[in-house]
Amino acid sequence: MSDKEFTRMMEGNEAAAWGAKLSRAEVVPAYPITPQTELISNIATLIAEGKMKTEYIMVEGEHTAMAAAVGASAAGARVFTASSSQGVAFMDEPLWIPPGRRLPIVMCYVNRTMAPLGGLRPDHNDSMHQRDKGWILLYCENSQEVLDTIIQAYKIAENPEIYLPVGVCYDGYFVSATATPTTVPDQAQVDEWLPSYTHEWYSLMPDSHKMPAPKSFLEMRMGVAEAHEKAKKVIKDVDAEFKKQFGRGYGGIIEEYNCEDAEAVIVTMDSMTGTARDVIDEMREEGKKIGLIKLKCFRPFPSEEFKKIAKKYKAIGVVDRNNSFGSAGGGIVAIELSRALYDAPDKPLIVDFHVGLSGTDVTMNQIRYIADETLEAAKTGKVKHVVDWVESHDLGEVM
């Protein structure tokens, strides 16, 4: 098997496995859960075929998967793991450890709805639930972006200024099981770009043991907060460097699409962004001044970027594929964005939309409705509903 670059149709989970392989993850503790399963079975296949060399451990549950990831990372190994939904929830306790311990673990969150009544299909509550723990969270739109983001994630996580775990999130099925053309880069080129990992602060090995503990809990927490601030620049720089080397970039932490002269924009994440691009293109042709912002990086939240561009628009429509029940108003992204813009001059109106919950299709009709409502708010200066549950409206034929 040659390690040379090749391009073919590939599902998101297979692309993620290639991402872990190309990053030369040394330890992969794994436990299966739909829709993450094909990711870890693809890794097992890559190992069985002799294409990937890693210590692969089939553990007995997600709690152990993350605990083993912590142990391996503390002992100096580059670690990869993945989970979804209830599995992420079962992992909740160990997921608190890597940020405070500053362990650069990379994990895929293959997004899936939480119970009860949840299906197997995606919404974002499983990964957004991690927002307070200190993980960097990046959301991907297709297979290629998943593969590239995993490689980028190690470079971000292992930066001594950062030393934080990174979650690479993508929708179950819509990304995990949908094949899109994907280029797998040359291993040698990745090796050159992503050097092998050594933690500058820690070593658990008896002959080089060092493990400085923060002086206080406050110092530890402030350290994580500071690293998140620094990460905003590092994520952008890493994306730019990646683009220079591999020819593909993702705009760093947010991507503005067709935002030129727009009166209003909608904010999307993950796989629905592809649908939204088409709708925005159509509406532009119709002369509507609407644009799209893809929120790639949810943690750290790109407050400064939004503040910078906010005055250009009269209204922002946020598409929240999650719930935060009893919140100050709407879904998680809308709440975050409202805080980010609170002290901005000439701030736009914020309209929040719940759509695609539990993996229901986010249709072109729905995106068009969201864009129209946001344009309407821009025109009238009024927000009709703090939260609009889009699926409760009859929007006619699905398309």
């Binding site: 210590e55 083993a68 142990g71 990372s73 100096g76």
Partner: protein, 291 residues
């Protein structure tokens, strides 16, 4: 001269003074003995339980999280050691009785199934002592705790035999009251590749209710009365380590306040259980018991 001898002693010791453990706790005693055998090229994983307060004082690399994390992080460390080609390092995973028998029971079972190359130690002081004496799956029948004020009505899990049934290469019970036997078992565990399990009873004067000065004495009575017998199971073959005549369990039970409400019938029940266990062990001594 005297000062120099002391200085050298503390320099060589793998455990430093100033432990936060209660007086008479068997924890520091266990680690002092164990680390004399294990040496400096050791990583210890585990944290939380009371009897492991002593781990804060050990001088070898130590990584611990919480008592719901047993053998799991050590599994990761083990994988990292393999990835780095560092199989010279001795890996210890340690847990208290509540972690071993209750909250992390499945984790130890899974590590045993995977035959992880580590020595799993159960530091058993027979209750959740750190939170203030609450019953665990390893609290013995009849013992008072704050959650069993009239004495525990259920039996203690037979953890060493449960682990042995996983067909791991080595399982042993050991006691700080018999340090030579304890050291020999650790040495043997170090010489074997795969999952090794050592179950050690740690005296707890605070929770067992006895004079801290008598910690070793009480623990020794536990072994001598066969309440906590010493044996090993190597490659499925049972070997009883101490075959002395059994002292009456009453001597062990009355030495501790936690058993003071036992009725004569209860004591007779405990004696008959212990006798049966002793007969079983002696009958199977030298035989393959795990197939």
């Amino acid at each position: 001269m005297i000062n120099e001898i002391f200085d050298q002693h503390y320099k060589d010791a793998k455990i430093q003074g100033g432990s936060t453990c209660c007086p008479g706790c068997g924890g520091p005693l266990f680690w002092k003995i164990a680390l004399q055998v294990l040496g400096a090229n050791t990583i210890v994983y585990g944290d939380g339980p009371c009897a492991m307060c002593a781990l804060r004082n050990i001088k070898v690399p130590h990584y611990g999280i919480h008592f719901s994390f047993v053998a799991d992080g050590a599994t990761g460390i083990n994988a990292a050691l393999r990835a780095k080609g560092r199989e010279d390092v001795t890996l210890i995973s340690s847990a208290g009785d509540g972690a071993t028998a209750d909250i992390s029971f499945g984790k130890i079972s899974a590590a045993a199934e995977r035959n992880e190359n580590m020595i799993q130690i159960c530091v058993d002081n027979e209750a959740y002592m750190n939170t203030g004496i609450q019953k665990s799956g390893l609290t013995p029948y009849g013992a008072w705790t704050t959650t069993t004020p009239s004495g525990k009505t259920d039996n203690k899990k037979d953890i060493p035999m449960i682990i042995a049934a996983h067909k791991v290469p080595y399982v042993a019970t050991a006691s700080v009251a018999y340090p030579i036997d304890l050291k020999r078992k650790l040495e043997k565990a170090m010489s074997i590749k795969g999952f090794k399990f050592i179950h050690t009873i740690i005296p707890c004067p605070t929770g067992w209710r006895f004079d801290p000065a008598k910690a070793v004495e009480v623990t020794k009575l536990g072994v001598d009365s066969w309440v906590t017998p010493l044996y090993e199971v190597e490659e499925g073959v049972l070997k009883v380590s101490r075959k002395a005549e059994a002292k009456p369990v009453n001597e062990y039970l009355t030495a501790q306040g936690r058993f003071r409400r036992l009725s004569e019938e209860q004591i007779a029940y405990i004696q008959s259980e212990v006798d049966d266990k002793r007969d079983d062990l002696m009958a199977q001594d030298g035989k393959k018991i795990i197939h």
